[in-house]
């Protein structure tokens, strides 16, 4: 399409050049395409790689997912991911994490606990408490802390409120042939208090606690 020709425009305010619509569309398509390529390089390549590189330089080692290893080098898990600690032969002697609706299977992502008015919630809590009584060797009149019985948001919450650990101390001491005082000392050493009062809550990372427990009894 040839550009429209005509007599020179009379003097006046500058008017928009008469560009055919499809020409403008083509200009935009081209500009948008080039822009996308540039943005892709920046966001998908330059940005993550630069962050990784600088992070490695400034805070080496913190970007790897906080993996825990046994002395023999096997990766046991991540400090930040809970695992099923009540299973297997070792289970009874370990501190257990909060229940997981995905059975600690990270591939399933995270599951949503039942809503507050859903009768399933009561059933779920009852089952959890029964399980803890039965296999966790709880005395009949001991109460299970709500934070221990309730399913978490991530399904792999690695932390417990201190009361939830204390409830498990008698069983752990008995199973590991340790005195309650010894276990309590270990637990107390693993309570993470907030760096400032009320900047977050006090909690115990169960996996770290169990690793310490295992190294104490020399099993890892």
């Amino acid at each position: 399409m040839s550009a429209p020709r005509g007599p020179p425009a009379p003097l006046g305010p500058p008017t928009e050049p008469a560009v055919p619509t499809e020409h403008r569309l083509r200009t935009h398509a081209r500009a948008a395409g080039i822009f996308l390529v540039l943005a892709l390089l920046l966001s998908g390549v330059v940005y993550p790689l630069a962050v990784s590189a600088v992070a490695e330089l400034l805070v080496p080692g913190s970007a790897g997912g906080s993996l825990l290893r046994c002395p023999n080098g096997t990766v046991v898990g991540s400090v930040d991911i809970a695992q099923n600690l009540s299973a297997g032969t070792l289970g009874p002697s370990l501190f257990w994490a909060r229940p997981s609706l995905t059975d600690y299977n990270t591939t399933l992502g995270a599951a949503v606990p039942p809503g507050p008015s859903d009768p399933a919630l009561g059933r779920l809590l009852n089952e959890t408490i029964d399980y803890m009584r039965l296999y966790g060797n709880l005395s009949v009149n001991a109460t299970v802390p709500f934070w221990y019985a309730a399913p978490s948001a991530s399904s792999v919450d690695p932390d417990l409120v201190p009361e939830a650990v204390l409830v498990q101390v008698p069983r752990v001491a008995q199973e590991n042939n340790l005195s309650v005082a010894e276990v309590l000392a270990l637990v107390n050493a693993h309570i993470s208090s907030p760096p400032l009062p009320y900047l977050g809550e006090s909690f115990v990372n169960v996996l770290e606690l169990d690793m310490a427990l295992l190294s104490l009894v020399g099993k890892c």
Binding site: A31, S43, G44, V75, S78, G115, P116, S154, P158
Partner: protein, 570 residues
Amino acid sequence: MAFALQSLWDVLVLLGVVLAVAPWFGRYVGKVYLERPVAGDSLLLPLERAVYRLLGTSPRRPMRAGEYMVAVLFVNGGTFAFLFLFFLLQHALPLDPTGAPGMPWDLAFHSAASFTTNTDFTHFVNESQLSLGSAMIAWQLALFLSAATGLSVAAAMIRGFVRKDGRLGNFYVDLTRSITRILLPVAVLGALVFVALGVPETLVAAVRAHPLTGGTQTIYLGPVASFQAISLLGTNGGGYYTANAASPLANPSSASLLLGTFLMLLVPFSTPFAFGTMVRRRAEAWPFVAVIVLIVAIAVGLFVAYQAAANPLLGGIPGLGPSTNGYPVGQETRWSLPETAFFQVVSVYNNVGANSMQIGAISPIAQLVLLFGMFTQATPGGDGTGFAMLLVFTVLAIYVGGLMVGRTPEYLGKKIGTSQVRWAALALILHPALILVPFSIAVVGGWVSVGGASIGVTAHTFSSVLYEFASESANNGSALSSNAFNDTTPYFNVVGGLVMLLGRFVPIYVMLRVGGYFAGEATLPQGPGTLNTATGTFAVYLALFVVVVTALVFLPVMALGPLAQIVGVG
């Protein structure tokens, strides 16, 4: 109350920090869009100019509303197409070490629409259905571009209040500068702090672990810190993990939670100040800030109060101990209630949609509080578009209020004409229509299925479907409950995708049109007879207008769902 009042302190400090930083950062943002000299020009200006040359555009070629929209559609359409194809073919593309299969077309459509529109509502399980490349290359592109689009549109609309030539600026220039000057620098800093706080940042997609009690467990890793920084800063809200911000890897401590909250708040709280700078009336920022802070503060207060109250239905469970620190179902141990509540409310009210808890499990009134934020979608809403939507509300509020002072209404010296009201009214209709029409069709048409079978809809399912469409229409991305119904059906993928696209680009067109009409008007001088909008009275009026109009439109439907759930909980 089952939480310590003192634990509010860090949340209040954070709010104070944001309010201290926002005026400064907002002024910076304003200068960026005014193309006034700012720090970093010596390094970035030549780069940007090179980009403009490559694109064949120039800051000296401002666009009218229509052309600006065309450019928005080309860039976003390109993004959408790229994402759609990438997700469809992710199994055949590089960077799929975990063996994620290609997505079905409807899921790819929903996901591409979701990410392009700044919604980041996901109908898949990230860990098993998304490849490393899909997250890092495709999704991350959208994290940047959708946020940059929102900011650019807001900047263009704001220019309407000062320009007189009917033009709104050059979209490509705005987009470039949104990324180079605002999103990228802050995201890099945020990502680095996230890494320092223990968030993974690696190209290793997964590690196989051998748990203490036997078996195996996959620890999913990746460039989580960089992804999360732009996701929160850009009010996208997409999580690298399915658990989103509740994941202990992505969000390991109170410090990382507060940083995330800061990143979400930064741009939406700064935009009013950017507006003040751009229209050369700094005081005009304060009514908006007041409205936003007021509404968010009330929301957080209600949320904390109802989450702290025990669930009365659980009183009868033998052996269940009491809870300190709020209601634990669907919550993470490491945070205090105010911290996680603040994150959650900010996330929904800022149209981010990231979750630090499972909101399907929280108190119905807390859910209502969140739902309300998605209904207004402007207090403060997502990057750019949230503020632009608040301006649309403002246009309507001033129209009605301005009549009450006896002048045909004007804002910042620009008359509010029939055209502006007509377009703003369209935005008012669109949001409820986009929520309620597909919602009603889904429920009445039997498209809602739980566990494969279509069933009678309970109040909880009802709330979840309502929440889903509200979230999609508001481009929020927050999801109430993935197990209340099956949202991965073609109906919810296709209709949801369309709702997101319409809920994004129709309001953007409205914003540009309204801005365009203002840009074509002369600025009238202000006198004692004009409504002074930089006042407390106006702020109160605007807040009431937003709340009353939203409540009027949505109360009947809210009554059916979340309100009905309160029955059982009291």
